[in-house]
Symmetry: C2
Subunit: 214 residues, 2 copies
């Protein structure tokens, strides 16, 4: 398996966690999002992925864009160490959490979006920071409330083993800290994060442990 990757990309981080949890080895292929005008926009990478985003996963002849499509694929193709429960209603609870992070939080503070705001639209650094923190705080508040009251809660977001929700939550909290948000203000999320931190599969996926870390 080959994973086109960027150490700090939180969607890349999700897939690294899932591979580690499942014990799947992969070749790490760095794509530098800030060098040479962004290597993801180069002809070579664009041919592989017209979406021009990392991560990109190759498993034999199968090439997959979008981190959540990868996580679902890995769970279907390598079902040992499942990352989703079996019951459709329980699966939906996990997915609504993962998707809230992937759809409503991460894309708004993505590198390409921040660059457009300050470059093309001329926002100041202070306005950019206000934008970032607004969406982080809105998102973390919603997630913390929803998880606190979730019927399936355990040591992890849902139950006592990691799921897609934890694979998305931990990178999102890393991202929030990077932008100065105090994650301990969200007690439910913070507790899950501390449990995940004890697990080797999560620790090895951390941006600081990757070959292209700066």
């Amino acid at each position: 398996m080959r994973l086109f990757n960027y150490f700090r990309s939180s969607s890349s981080y999700r897939v690294r966690i899932a591979c580690n949890l499942k014990g799947l080895a992969y070749e790490y292929l760095p794509v530098h999002l800030n060098r040479n005008g962004g290597e993801q926009f180069g002809d070579r990478f664009t041919t592989l992925n017209p979406q021009q985003l990392v991560p990109l996963l190759e498993d034999g002849d199968t090439r997959i864009a979008q981190s959540l499509a990868m996580l679902e694929y890995l769970d279907e193709r390598y079902p040992d160490v499942p990352l989703l429960p079996r019951d459709p209603a329980a699966r939906a609870q996990v997915r609504q959490t993962a998707l809230y992070i992937a759809c409503e939080m991460h894309p708004l503070n993505n590198l390409r979006v921040l660059k457009f705001l300050t470059g093309e639209l001329g926002l100041s650094d202070a306005q950019k920071q206000r934008w970032i923190v607004h969406w982080l705080e809105t998102g973390l508040t919603a997630l913390d409330t929803q998880l606190r009251d979730a019927p399936g809660r355990g040591a992890f977001c849902f139950g006592d083993t990691p799921t897609l929700a934890d694979c998305c939550l931990v990178p999102q909290l890393f991202n929030a800290r990077r932008f100065g948000v105090d994650v301990s203000a969200y007690p439910t999320l913070h507790a899950v994060d501390q449990v995940c931190e004890q697990i080797e599969a999560f620790r090895r996926a951390h941006p600081s442990c990757q070959p292209d870390a700066e």
Copy 2:
């Protein structure tokens, strides 16, 4: 089944298409995103969905936020008229398309995001329009390129029956037209849209046919 809904919300539109394709009846519960400061922010709706977003699906005791979590749930719980192929690699191709729309396109031009840009950050209407069109054109170009070359193409995005990808594409093209983008400039997407337009399940899900349409 009960679907909390807004006629023009493209994520609501996705779920209406899926229910119609599967022949599942639902009660339509309108949530007006622009009235009374946004009914999705009211106490009543926030208790049901702390994410404060439509759609929200209730099926008996199961309550689900996030449209793609609903589509996956409906496909698992009501597997007649499947919306995903069976092979994991083929499923991943469908999901990478649906997720590109749900993660990289729709959230950026969401009502709450546009309101923050013009309200809190003081962007002009011209700047707002530039932002909207930039992400629509970037996204439609990537999608058209990726789908044109996809091995599984048929009359629909993938194969000869509708999938999650079509449930997401048709509402996204409706949204693009609303903002003045010429969708016929994307021939692969446009062809799929025209096929879907012939199908009753898609037509009945159109915003103009909903009880809260303005």
